[in-house]
Symmetry: C2
Subunit: 332 residues, 2 copies
């Protein structure tokens, strides 16, 4: 007798960038990398924007990709055991009142750290080098030697120490920064010189040369870095957001950059996305905007994601707790 | 009996940026850091653009800062033993036919590596992140997700392995690159996976994801990276120049960037400097121009320089060979 095989459905969304589409070739390549585990998977279906969802859900045990239609999922997918999001941020699926009891929901945290670290190495060094101002001078065809001090020994306050926050802390150590991490539960982190709780956020902001936002977007973190907190920063401080746009009061940041009250910022996430052409944010001085690309490997995002999925499949088959589970109460 | 004290003249040029001016306060602070050595220095004079040069040169043993007027120096400064340039590149003083025999000429190599490393960490990561294209999109108020692959395992060809080149190699290792160093005399370097001679330059250029120019400007290195050599690069390759503008055929680079034949470039040095407002280089796609600021610490340049100078003073007093000596034949 053999164990009954698990049926998997992979759900894609056409509106997402192709680097996030899980295609049969990705799946087949991943099965070759994880041969023994792949034997436990039976039929695999690939759907686009719900096209075959209702015909496969009744038999499906595992789903990769959060379906757009999530109501009444328990009845539509009675055998569903594990739903996996190919994103790390699942704020688009909040609140999780649709999640059937007994279904494990995981995210793709862990697929982003490597690229986020590289992005943050870039962000710290370019802000320290005054690149936003230098870029503006290039546009104005103006040669002006904007010198900058060494970055060594400056301080980064990294808000959130998950996959992204830890990457930001790792990047900070790499470029010679001191790191103060801020997280819900204070526990040591090997890339942070100090870790404090959110209650102490206002106490550490005045120490920051760089503030990095790397928290999930939840009801608690919305507008976390607001105007009042921005005013706690030194005028020479810089802000980086790699989390979600609404974690930062974007207008308050823009005002302060326009007044020269802050030295610079790099925003990889804004609100809304895509940023409309008429948004005044585009032309804010000493601000660089990157189009939500800080943390995604443009070449191997899905390969990395499937490797993490297979790691969890092994735990599932062994009856163990999966990694990267979403806590429905915390919302991340 | 005490050893006769050495007389020092410090020569400044007003046209240089103030971060390069050696002022009495820098000197006094350095003397406090190097008390024992400073006792050997007698009178110290500070001159600007040659204003007091002729009155002090007859008694002077040591000069910091290369005077603009260098002809007949042996007669004008009969006791001169050591002339020190506060720059690393002394191409502005070539050829060295004016240098009296027996006068040691040193440069400020070593004062730039720390900052150059930070700049190169920035340059590699921003080129890999396609930031020049993202910046152009920001100017056009255009949101487009330009994703990029991981930088890990890509290859940097670093041309020149002096203070700057070694910094570029160190930065490359820091961001996960393989490093091929190119230098005149092939010898191992701990930051390079391979070191080759200039004869092999054309063989290694096709391997490069990044080419970094970090050579002194001499008759041999002028136009070293010309159009023919740029055509040996992969279309996905990027170029960085932190050396001197004329080491690169700037027009050839511009043409190739405009045609999309190369992926990107960062130039900290151009020809001429300052770049005139009407230069077409300013608007070259996928090119970032920084105004010759890559290697100079905007806060402590002179402090660092004087520390290096005192290190050499100790060697001079001990009758030993000084470090960072210019070889008149090589011109660096």
């Amino acid at each position: 007798m053999t164990t009954p095989k698990l049926r998997l459905h992979i759900e894609n969304a056409r509106k997402k960038n192709p680097i996030f589409h899980t295609l049969p070739e990705h799946w087949q390549a991943a099965c070759k990398r994880h041969k023994a585990l792949a034997k436990h998977i039976g039929a695999v279906s690939f759907g686009w924007d719900g096209d075959i969802l209702e015909s496969v859900l009744p038999q499906t045990h595992l789903v990769i990709g959060v379906p757009a239609q999530r109501s009444n999922l328990a009845a539509r997918a009675p055998h569903l055991r594990w739903l996996h999001s190919t994103s790390a941020g699942i704020d688009g699926a909040l609140p999780l009142d649709w999640l059937p009891r007994g279904v494990t929901f995981t995210n793709n945290s862990g697929a982003h750290g490597h690229k986020a670290e590289q992005y943050m190495v870039m962000a710290y060094t370019l802000l320290n080098t005054r690149l936003p101002g230098i870029v503006a001078n290039q546009q104005a065809r103006h040669w002006e030697a904007l010198f900058s001090p060494s970055i060594t020994g400056k301080t980064a306050v990294v808000v959130g120490l998950g996959d992204l926050g830890e990457a930001a802390a790792r990047a900070a150590k790499k470029v010679g920064l001191k790191v103060i991490g801020v997280r819900r539960s204070v526990q040591k982190n090997r890339y942070a010189d100090r870790v404090v709780s959110y209650k102490q956020l206002d106490k550490v902001l005045p120490l920051a040369d760089f503030v990095v936002l790397a928290v999930p977007l939840t009801a608690e973190t919305r507008s976390l870095l607001n105007g009042q907190r921005l005013d706690l920063l030194k005028p020479s401080a810089c802000v980086v957001n790699i989390a979600r746009g609404p974690v930062l009061d974007q207008e308050a940041l823009e005002q302060r950059l326009r007044k020269g009250r802050l030295a610079g910022a790099v925003l990889d996430v804004v609100d809304p996305e895509p940023l409309p052409a008429n948004a005044s944010l585009w032309t804010t001085p000493n601000l660089l905007i990157t189009p939500h690309v800080s943390c995604d490997d443009g070449e191997h995002y899905i390969d990395i994601s499937l490797d993490l999925w297979f790691e969890n499949l092994e735990l599932l088959l062994a009856g163990k707790r999966l990694k990267r589970r979403i806590d429905p109460k915390l919302g991340y």
